[in-house]
């Protein structure tokens, strides 16, 4: 026989303040849980979205980031003539050689004052066809031969002098912002792009940092990688573009995730102790009721289940409130330095339905763990003493 849920619901309402406080404590833990994982997810997502599985990123042999790589024009020529490279509509190889420099720019606004390492990427006109998901949302592409730059959408909001027509100074020169672009929410939106022939001399670079090309046959990546890495004329490493950037999110992404779990774990222990207190007090006050239930014939198992359900209800209520508290954080833009690439990355907090569900499940677990021992005490209650 199961004790009806209405008994639990009514009991909860009999001690409204106690129930509310316990639920609120759990709500805060769930809110922090969801918030921090949303931060970690957002960071990861920005990098995972960067790059297409159809492209291959080529760096110098041994380099672990675009920053530490160097590729000369000879290598670019050899790569362009490779049979693995797809050709565009005009018959030219879809190859994008790029320069990569990091400059310190002061951040603006209430977020923080301080410096950020912003990526300045030298690009060729080919980049707009090779790299995926690019969209110029304002202005026009930089014209060849002029010190003009295109700024990523996320970058524009967080730094001064990045509006269309404004002038930004770096590398000892003045650059005019002529466009803003989006890139599917990826890391490129935190970058400044300019023409190779303008950017490289400004930073005294004679070599590119990376070459990205479109695979002729997406399935033939392994073969292309093997061919390029064993080619004696080159000394390169090839990566699937999407995989490379995803892997750059590993270090900080796992730190953020570990931090989230550790912090919420400790908080959860504290909240569970609170829940245990509440439930023990509830069991103690209601021992005559429990005795009546047992006398009526409800098996101790049902009493155990009933109290567990009560604890779970409190926790779930807290979980829902916590999820609601955390929800506004979704879509908030923040930024940090991705140490793997030593560059500024702006990203949004990302709350997925899956994350909300895990938050609720977490609350449920807290409720069950907190309610177990008190519920067992209730079930084991000797009837006669209680009725006395």
């Amino acid at each position: 026989m199961r004790i009806p849920l209405s008994y639990n619901a009514r009991s909860l309402l009999q001690r409204p303040v106690s129930t509310a406080f316990t639920a609120l404590g759990i709500a805060l833990v769930v809110a922090v849980f969801i918030g921090m994982l949303a931060l970690a997810n957002g960071f990861r997502a920005a990098l995972v979205r960067t790059g297409s599985p159809q492209n291959v990123l080529v760096l110098r042999d041994g380099a672990d980031s675009e920053l530490s790589s160097a590729i000369d024009r000879g290598t670019v020529s050899v790569l362009s003539s490779s049979p693995h490279v797809a050709r565009g509509g005009d018959g030219r190889p879809l190859v994008s050689p790029e320069a990569y420099v990091v400059i310190p720019l002061p951040r603006k606004g209430f977020d923080t004052t301080g410096l950020a390492n912003v990526v300045v990427r030298g690009v060729s006109p080919a980049v707009w066809s090779v790299r995926a998901n690019l969209d110029v949302v304002a202005g026009r592409r930089p014209e060849s031969g002029r010190p003009e730059i295109c700024v990523g959408e996320k970058m524009a909001a967080r730094f001064d002098r990045t509006g269309i027509g404004e002038t930004l100074r770096f590398g000892g020169r003045d650059w005019t912002v002529v466009c803003r672009f989006t890139a599917g929410g990826s890391a490129f939106e935190s970058e400044i792009w300019g023409e190779n022939e303008q950017v490289m001399p400004a930073f005294r670079r004679t070599e590119f940092q990376s070459v990205t090309f479109r695979l002729k046959d997406t399935g033939a990546y392994e073969e292309a990688k093997r061919a390029l890495e064993t080619d004696r004329r080159l000394a390169v490493d090839a990566y699937r573009e999407a995989q490379f950037y995803a892997q750059q999110s590993e270090l900080l992404g796992s730190i953020l995730q570990a931090l989230a779990i550790m912090i919420t774990g400790i908080m959860a222990a504290g909240a569970v102790f609170g829940a245990i207190n509440t439930m023990y007090a509830a069991v103690a006050t209601r021992s005559p009721e429990i005795a009546v239930l047992l006398t009526l014939g409800f098996p101790p198992r049902s009493v155990l289940a009933s109290f567990l359900v009560e604890s779970a209800l409190i926790a779930l209520a807290g979980g829902v409130v916590g999820a609601l508290i955390a929800l506004p954080v979704n879509g908030l833009v923040t930024s940090t330095t991705n140490w793997a690439s030593f560059s500024e990355l702006a990203f949004t907090f990302q709350i997925t339905p899956g994350l909300l569900l895990s938050g609720l499940a977490f609350a449920l677990v807290m409720g069950l763990v907190g309610g177990f021992f008190p519920a067992r005490r209730a079930a084991r209650q000797p009837v006669v003493q209680a009725l006395r």
Partner: protein
Amino acid sequence: MKFFHLVLANLGRHKRRTFLTIASVALALFLFASLQTVVTTLERAAQFGSARRLVMTNASGFILPLPLSYANRLRATEGVSNVTWANWFGGKYGDNKTFFAQFAVDPKSYLEVYPEMVVPEDQKQAFLRERSAALIGVRLLDKFGWRVGQNITLQGTIFPGDWTFTIRGVYTPSDPILNDDMMLFHHEYLEERIGRPGIAGWYVIEIDDADNAAGAAKVMDDQFRNSSAPTKTGTEQAFNASFATMWGNVSLLMGTIGMAVVFAILLVSANAMMMSARERTGEVAVLKTIGFRDRTLFGLVMLEAGFIALAGALIGLGGAKLLYRLTKFNGGGFLPGFDVTPRTLLLGTGIALLLMLASGLVPALRAARLPVVQALRRVE
């Protein structure tokens, strides 16, 4: 205090409840102390640096190099007592699971400019003598199980290839903010292998007059303003501070979580206090009947809340301080000198006391104002 026994007896009545509440408060304050310490450690790192040391980087971006020829010109500049330089090597060791910084430096001048790196004299001489020698931080001995005299091989990323070094010395920082897990080696070793003319990543310049840092910096930048690599010079503190800001708005994040944590424990503790108070209405009435004053009862309840709060503070804050001291935690190298400051301990204790006030106030007032007759009527 003669009422101390009464307070303890009350708390001992529900030992489990008292224990769980204290544990909750302790956990929350432990967390609070840890989060605060992240903020304070980054702040201290931003303030580390000698007032007499200036850091000079390429004005276009500090990842760009500076010519080695600047060294002599800087040495000849008035007000400069010593000049050294370093290059970020960025090598990988083994499976690359553990990161540590490696620098190619001008060994003699670097150790002169950084007396905080304490090296035994014989090891120092051995390091200076040998071109392929390496000087490692004391933490690396444990991290990788290295010994003095051992050969180690790194995979270069910026400078490709395999690089072998012989560990000849170990340094111990005299200031905990200075990282104890870095590796230094000879700049000439780097130069002879890459076969290109030498470059410096950045210069560290020691000046005579610390008060004139800004003026000296300007003089140096003016010197190189129109050359191929214009420079940006500032104090070492400014340089370190800019690194600390690269994390983003850490203090906002930690502060927000800290607030949530504190509020959560407030709820737990207040809940426990309220439950106890509710159960003891009858006793309070009896105590009042035998002559205890309203004021005394108020104080008793507050003392009870205070005991829980302070016990939790002692365990939580004390635990945090001890844990990080004993494990020499440094956040994988990103948070050197991670130590709970006295100010954080004070702040934590203040929060605990506030907790006592907030959670004990309502039950205490209730107890004080309890009308005796009605309360006695309700005794079970």
